[in-house]
């Protein structure tokens, strides 16, 4: 690991404050420091109370009864036997749910999102559409009793024909997953004269690629505890990326939204899998029914069986290039599998459509994207959110173009890299610096001296891949976040923000920002996060948006608070506001005088000047664009990156051994470099899992990979140390010029590995994951 400072000399640039409440002089004293996060300390000491660690007196255990069939009609459900079993408190079916519809379009959003209405039943009524679909709920005194009772719920299923492949789902005679048909969403981009560009191209490269279902595979499965608090409020403490689901719980229970409170625990991983509703609605139903606290912990098998996955795609690319390597046109056709329900599929597909041509200038582009319902497990948000599958397509194509023209792959990418002022095929102008050429050079150079092969049958190769990933939500969602920052009388500071911490250090980064602006030592700050009743709402911890959104809200609140306090301090010191500063937990005047903060705060109280500030940050907003007209801003901004890998292929078995991995990203500004490196390393490893081994294997809708013995994720011995290269252009829209870095690092690894395999062996793998068997096939070791 190493840090490369201020690639473009932006360090300390006052512009970098991002235009919100900035009073920040360079150099920063806390921002940019390798601060040891409070949550890291807690976690390594096992002091963190995760959702599953919560227990209450008289607590029941809840279990979900799930469909064993991927497609069936429910003729009847008999719960009498289960309800009569020892220890059973209640058994619930669809009939017991006050409002059995859950809206799933855009979690946490407060504005209408147009045509994307997506919904499902909380508990299945007369049909199940995927294996593992929830059908009934059981609560009992012990977990074992609840499991036994769940086994005893008698559901009369009539299996029906299903469809298990997106292509087949779109055939005219395919069984309909939903009455309105199997085509869920369709996006198009048409820009420039594509056909003319192909006609005039020096080289045309065609490729078809396939990506797989993968699981979030967080170590902490879906978990929570619900109880009716002494004030009668239904309170649910769980592992979630979106505390705003309190509204969905209220709607399902048919109670006012202010009668439900969601508390988000520090998460043991989210990756998008906890963006949609998981256990909270079931917990709410059981707690209300029994009047007792209820705990629900999904097993690993349940989570792997039925939780939303990443969409498998079929990607078809035709790329036209000039002799110089200049990309002239892209013709892209995407088809995704939504599984049984819509969830966020339409938006995931939109991200794919917008990113389909990669971080390159593509003057002519045709993108057609569709996503279809099947009777597979549902697919929804997952780190990368549709901007990931496309990297495998466009970056495989870039290498093939380079190869066809005999040009170095790095050069072809640099020549086509987006620059400020360029326009994406969707019509969005790139308004910030794109550091791609530098990222490519650094990543490639980072591989160092070539590793010699270990055996005569081994071949070593190198590859690289770049990506762009939006951060922040689609502009027409009118995204906002709020934060409250306030001093206690002793000068200690409190930050309140509704932001869930998924493990990326979200809470700690807010403290760093407040510490920087208010000159308070970071250990004098308490941060309260993710409580829908007590912390100002901050939106979802998804879309690489929390540092950007809640960070800006905290920066703004801290800046306003600073003004308030300094105003009073200047009066007390009989000087001007410009001549006082907050540092080291005290007020310092330009002439060297100091005053304890405590004294200023007491004066604030006396003078009626608030010692706190609540700020709302509104992201740049826009209206929905017509993608085919290609004229509009879709996302606030993008993060760019480049990964380079070196690997060794066993040409007798197809086994790939990863040797080196270098991951370079322009993060704008690293608020905490350790957190940034953590995101890059973790993202790269998760991306390598996608590249090499992770796959939810389904046979006619039946999941064959419901344990970690068959669903393989990389462990420390499967991946090399990831070398993170952090570039800080100061060009992001977040606090101090930061960009989002949560999602971006997962994108490039798969394509980089595929490109390195071709470099080593001449064989191209076009299907993920690149298992030894698939590599063996590409090497023609198998027929």
């Amino acid at each position: 690991m190493r840090m490369i400072e201020g690639g473009h000399g932006f360090a300390g640039d006052p512009r970098a404050v991002g235009g919100v409440g900035g009073h920040i002089g360079a150099p920063h004293s806390v921002v940019g420091q390798r601060v040891v996060r409070h949550d890291a300390r807690d976690k390594v000491q096992a002091a963190t109370a995760y959702a599953g660690d919560w227990a209450m007196p008289g607590m029941l255990h809840g279990v979900v009864v799930r469909s064993p069939y991927p497609s069936a009609r429910i003729r009847g459900i008999d719960t009498t036997k289960a309800a009569a079993m020892r220890g059973v408190a209640c058994v619930l079916t669809a009939r017991d749910v006050p409002r059995n519809t859950l809206m799933t379009d855009v979690p946490g959003q407060t504005t209408t999102v147009g045509p994307l209405r997506a919904k499902l039943h909380v508990l299945a009524e007369d049909r199940v559409r995927h294996q593992g679909e929830p059908v009934a709920l059981v609560a009992a005194e012990t977990l074992e009793q609840a499991r036994d009772a769940a086994d005893a719920v008698e559901v009369d299923y009539e299996p029906r024909p299903g469809v298990f492949d997106a292509e087949q789902a779109l055939a005219p005679d395919a069984p309909k997953v939903h009455d309105e048909g199997n085509l869920l969403a369709h996006w198009r981009i048409a820009r420039g004269d594509v056909d003319a560009a192909f006609a005039g191209a020096a080289v045309v490269v065609e490729g078809e690629y396939r990506t797989q279902f993968v699981d979030s595979a967080y170590l902490e499965p879906e978990t929570g505890v619900a109880w009716i608090d002494s004030d009668g409020v239904i309170t649910i403490r769980l592992s979630t990326q979106v505390i705003e689901h309190f509204r969905d719980v209220a709607d399902v229970l048919d109670v006012p939204q202010n009668r439900v409170r969601v508390i988000g625990a520090y998460l043991g991983g989210g990756f998008g899998g906890k963006e949609d509703v998981t256990v909270e609605v079931y917990l709410g139903l059981l707690a209300v029914k029994t009047g007792r606290p209820v705990k629900m912990v999904w097993t690993r098998q349940e989570s792997l069986l039925a939780r939303a996955k990443r969409h498998p795609y079929r990607l078809r690319y035709r790329t036209a290039a000039a002799k110089t390597g200049e990309i002239l046109a892209q013709d892209v056709e995407l088809l995704g599998d939504s599984g049984a329900y819509a969830y966020l599929s339409a938006l995931v597909l939109l991200y794919s459509t917008v990113t389909a041509c990669g971080p390159y200038r593509v003057p002519a582009a045709r993108v057609q994207a569709r996503v279809a319902y099947t009777n597979n497990p549902p697919t929804s948000a997952m780190r990368g959110f549709g901007a990931m599958q496309t990297v495998f397509g466009y970056e495989s194509q870039m290498d093939r173009v380079a190869r066809a023209l005999g040009l170095p792959p790095a050069d072809v990418r640099k020549a086509n890299a987006l620059r400020r002022g360029d326009t994406l095929p969707v019509g969005q102008v790139i308004e910030t610096h794109c550091a791609l050429p530098e990222l490519i050079d650094r990543a490639w150079a980072g591989l160092g001296a070539p590793t010699p092969p270990r055996a005569p049958h081994a071949k070593v190769g190198r590859g690289l891949a770049c990506n762009l990933q939006p951060y922040g939500r689609i502009v027409w969602l009118h995204d906002w976040a709020s934060a409250w920052v306030g001093f206690e009388m002793d000068g200690s500071l409190v930050v309140r923000c509704g932001c869930p911490d998924v493990g990326g250090g979200q809470a700690s980064s807010l403290c760093q920002i407040a510490a920087e602006v208010l000159g308070v030592p970071i250990d004098r700050i308490s941060v309260h996060i993710a409580d829908s009743a007590l912390t100002p709402l901050a939106g979802t911890t998804t879309a690489s948006r929390q540092l950007y959104m809640s960070g800006n809200a905290t920066l703004k609140a801290s800046g306003e608070l600073r003004e308030q306090i300094l105003g009073v301090a200047a009066k007390l010191l009989e000087t001007s506001v410009a001549d006082v500063d907050l540092a080291g937990g005290e007020v310092r005047a330009a002439d060297g005088r100091t005053m304890p903060l405590r004294q200023v705060l007491a004066a604030c109280a006396r003078m009626g000047v608030p010692r706190s500030h609540l700020a709302v940050y509104h992201a740049p907003a826009g209206e929905p664009v017509d993608l085919t007209k290609g004229s509009g801003k879709i996302f606030p901004d993008y993060t760019f990156g480049c990964h380079a890998v070196e690997l060794e292929v066993d040409t007798e078995t197809g086994r790939v051994r990863l040797l080196k991995h270098v991951a370079a990203h322009d993060v704008g500004r690293a608020i905490n470099p350790m957190s940034v490196e953590g995101q890059i390393e973790g993202g790269a490893v998760q991306g390598l899992g996608y590249a090499m081994m992770e796959e939810v294997v389904l046979e006619d809708g039946i999941n064959l990979t419901t344990s970690f013995a068959s669903y393989l994720i990389p462990t420390t011995v499967d991946v090399p140390d990831v070398e993170a290269i952090v570039l800080e252009s100061g060009e992001g829209l977040g606090p101090f010029g930061a960009r989002g870095i949560g999602e971006p690092p997962i994108g490039p690894p798969a394509a980089a590995v595929a490109n390195a395999i071709e470099d080593a062996t001449g064989a191209r793998v076009t299907r993920l994951p690149m298992t030894p068997e698939r590599v063996a096939r590409a090497l023609r070791l198998l027929t």
Binding site: T653, M693, L704, A709, S710, L712, T715, V717, P772
Partner: protein, 288 residues
């Protein structure tokens, strides 16, 4: 996991008495590395669990010309044993390939053999070594040859009231031995594993070759076609390769979520070649 009764007897006789009393309702608990997952998945639902970890069955010794391993010898102990490395290095290599360090420090020889996973290393090694198993019950004891011990996928001839107390195998001094396996990740069960034992005669030809393969059928087994093709031949690289190719024709493995049967067949050939090549080079290095 479902509730069960539990006892941790201190003597073999006590353990056998408990097994005799509870019969098919009882399960022996050794390292727990296979049984505990089965309990968690509710695939095993014993009413009684007999924890054998306190029994004095963890000895490794050479006795009557055979290497004898008590059932409670841990995989890590086996991998680290100097006696085993000298007398029967195939077992050292096999034990070191099992799972990960956590599994090896708890898992036992007896547990692995009784569990009889077709891809497990120790059953494979025992098949290659022609091992013998010592089984005891309150009714008495019996000795079972390896070819009779494994009866199918995860099944053996062990009766519900029987305890596997030890296993013994002839030393392989003078031979070259090797295990080659292929798993999707290091530490996973092998997709295919091959064990080879080769002796070279004074003329430098293969005197005897024993080759066993696991992960293909319900139980690990020998591949006589490969063994016969090598016997009496000079162990040149191309001959080894040709003999190893025969392994492919001898197997018809199943497909599962981790690999197809076709790919396992490819591996059977490659791993047989690599195991033989290493066993041969070790056999050649043995001082005559």
């Amino acid at each position: 996991m479902q509730p069960f009764e539990y006892a941790a007897p201190a003597s073999v006789d006590e353990a056998l008495a408990l097994l005799a009393r509870h019969g098919a309702d009882a399960k022996v608990l050794a390292g727990g590395q296979s049984l505990v997952p089965l309990l968690n998945y509710r695939l095993a639902r014993p009413r009684f669990v007999v924890d054998v970890n306190d029994l004095p069955l963890d000895e490794i010794r050479v006795d009557a010309g055979r290497v004898r391993l008590g059932a409670l010898v841990r995989h890590s102990t086996l991998a680290a044993s100097a006696v085993v490395a000298r007398e029967c290095p195939l077992l050292t290599e096999a034990a070191a390939l099992i799972g990960n360090v956590r599994v090896r420090s708890l898992g036992t020889v007896g547990g692995s053999l009784a569990h009889a996973d077709p891809a497990a290393e120790l059953p494979l090694a025992m098949v290659a070594l022609d091992a013998r198993f010592e089984l005891r019950s309150a009714r008495g004891s019996r000795t079972v040859e390896v070819r009779d011990f494994f009866s199918g996928y995860l099944t053996t001839v062990l009766r519900p009231d029987e305890l596997l107390t030890s296993v013994d195998a002839p030393p392989t001094r003078g031979a070259g031995t090797a295990v080659e396996e292929f798993s999707r990740r290091p530490g996973d069960f092998a997709l295919v594993a091959v064990a080879a034992i080769v002796t070279i005669d004074r003329q430098g030809r293969v005197e005897n070759a024993r080759v066993a393969i696991g992960g293909i059928d319900g139980v690990p087994r020998r591949i006589p076609a490969v063994e016969n093709a090598l016997r009496g031949e000079p162990p040149a690289t191309d001959r080894i390769a040709r003999a190893a190719e025969l392994a492919r024709a001898e197997v018809t493995p199943q497909s599962d979520a981790l690999a197809s049967g076709e790919y396992r067949t490819l591996l059977a050939g490659v791993l047989t070649k690599r195991a033989l090549a290493r066993a041969v080079s070790r056999a050649m290095a043995v001082p005559a």
